[in-house]
Amino acid sequence: MLSASKITLERYFQPVFQPVSFDLEASGLLLVTGANGCGKTTLIRVLAGILHPSGGTIANRARGMAYVGHYLAIKDDLSVIENLRFARDFTGTSERRVSEVISEVGLGRVAEQLARTLSAGQRKRCALARLLLSENELWLLDEPYSNLDTEGVALVDRILTSHLEGGGACVLATHGAHRPAWPGTHDYLLLSGASA
C-alpha cells in the first residue's frame, strides 16, 4: 500500500535521517521509533507529502490518507461537533454519523462546547474522532498516545486494531513508552544523520 525506497531528506545540506526503505502492505503497521530529534515527525511529514524528499521514491497506492500530527487542526472558535462536521463535509467521504463518533471517543459530554475549553487530552480525542470519520486506508499517526490518559491510550489501540483488521495500514511514530499489540507490526528504528 505504501512503499519507500531509500528516501532521504536534507536540511541545510545535512541529512535529517539515514535513508529509509520499507514496504507496507494492507493490515500492516509500521512502528517508527527512535530517539528524540531523530526525525520521526519529519519522516511522517515526508510520507504525508507535506515535505518533498531530497532523494529516493515513495509509492503510495492507498485510497486516501489521514494524518494526526502535533498540530491537531482543531478550530478553537468552533465546537467539537462543528469541527467534526466540517471535517466530514470537507473530505466528503464518510457516511458515519458525527455524533456516533463523538461518543465513541468519549467526548459526548463536551460535544457542544467550544474547542478552546477542551483539555489537551480532549483535543487529541477530537482529532482521533476526525480520524474515525475519514474512511482513508492509510493512517499516519505522529505520537498518537501523547496527552492521553490510560483509557485514551486503550482507545487509540482499539480504533487502530479495528482499522488494521479492516484492511487498512498505518505508520505510527512513537518515542516508545507504549506500543500497540498487533501481530503484523514491523519495527523500524529511525537513525538520525548521515552515518553513525
Binding site: 504525508a48 515535505l51 497506492r61 494524518y67 491537531l72 478550530k75 472558535d77 470537507f90 473530505t91 466528503g92
Partner: protein, 231 residues
C-alpha cells in the same frame, strides 16, 4: 499522495470551507469589525487634517477612499491563512487530496466577503462624507466592487509567502503595496474622469481585465507559495 486517489467532491469541499470560514469570522466579530472601523476613522481624519473645504475634499476623495481601502485590506490580509497555518489545518488540506489552488480560492473568496464587501457597501456613505458628486459616487462603488477582489487575490500570494515568518505581517505590507499601485492608479483615474465629466469606461474595462487575470492566476500562485511555506 496517491495521484490516482481523488477524495470527495470538490464542490462539497469548497462549500464546506466557505461555510466554516464565514462561521469562524462571525465568531471572531471583533476581528471582522476592526478593518471597517479603521477605514471609517482614517477617512474621517482627512477633513479634520485638511480642512472642511467641500471642493478640496471632493478632489481628493477618490485617492483618500482608495488608499484607506488598501490599508484596511492589508490589515485584514494576514488573517487569511494564519490560523490555518498555525493549527495544522493547512497540512490537513494538503493531505486531503483536494487541489490547494481550489482551497486557496475558497479562502480568498471568504476573505473578500468578510473584508472587501463591507468596504464596497460602505463606500457610498464614505463618498458622501467626502462630498463626491452623485455621478462619480456610483463609479466609486463600481471601482471598489471590481478592485477589492483583486486586492484580496494579489494579497493572498503575499500572505502565502510570508505566513511561515514570525513577523510576516510587516513584510507583507512591503510586499503587496507595490503590486497594488496599478489598481490604485486605474481606479482613482476612473473616479476622477467621472467627476470631470470625461469618459471612464476604459478604466473600468482595465479593472475588469485585472480582476479576470488575478482570479485566473492568483490562486495558483498562492497555492504554490503556501506549499513553499509548509516545507
Amino acid at each position: 499522495m496517491n495521484p490516482e486517489y481523488a477524495g470527495g467532491s470538490l464542490s462539497g469541499a469548497f462549500v464546506a470551507l466557505v461555510r466554516r470560514d464565514l462561521l469562524l469570522a462571525f465568531r471572531r466579530r471583533t476581528e471582522l469589525l476592526f478593518p471597517v472601523i479603521f477605514l471609517l476613522v482614517v477617512i474621517s481624519l482627512f477633513p479634520l487634517g485638511i480642512g472642511p473645504s467641500p471642493q478640496l475634499l471632493a478632489r481628493i476623495a477618490p485617492g483618500v477612499i482608495w488608499i484607506a481601502a488598501l490599508l484596511a485590506t492589508v490589515i485584514s490580509l494576514d488573517a487569511l491563512f494564519r490560523s490555518d497555518f498555525e493549527d495544522g489545518t493547512l497540512e490537513q488540506f494538503v493531505i486531503s487530496g483536494h487541489p490547494l489552488t481550489l482551497i486557496a480560492l475558497a479562502k480568498i473568496a471568504t476573505h473578500w466577503l468578510v473584508a472587501g464587501l463591507p468596504i464596497v457597501l460602505l463606500s457610498p456613505l464614505l463618498a458622501l462624507w467626502m462630498n463626491l458628486s452623485t455621478d462619480s459616487l456610483s463609479v466609486m462603488v463600481v471601482t471598489l466592487a471590481l478592485g477589492t477582489p483583486i486586492l484580496s487575490l494579489i494579497g493572498s500570494i503575499g500572505v502565502g509567502l510570508t505566513i511561515s515568518l514570525k513577523r510576516g505581517g510587516q513584510l507583507l505590507s512591503l510586499l503587496v503595496f507595490p503590486l497594488y499601485v496599478p489598481i490604485l492608479i486605474i481606479a482613482t483615474a476612473a473616479v476622477m474622469a467621472a467627476s470631470d465629466g470625461l469618459p471612464y469606461t476604459q478604466f473600468l474595462g482595465l479593472l475588469t481585465a485585472g480582476l479576470i487575470t488575478s482570479v485566473t492566476l492568483a490562486p495558483f500562485a498562492a497555492a504554490a507559495a503556501l506549499k513553499i511555506s509548509l516545507s
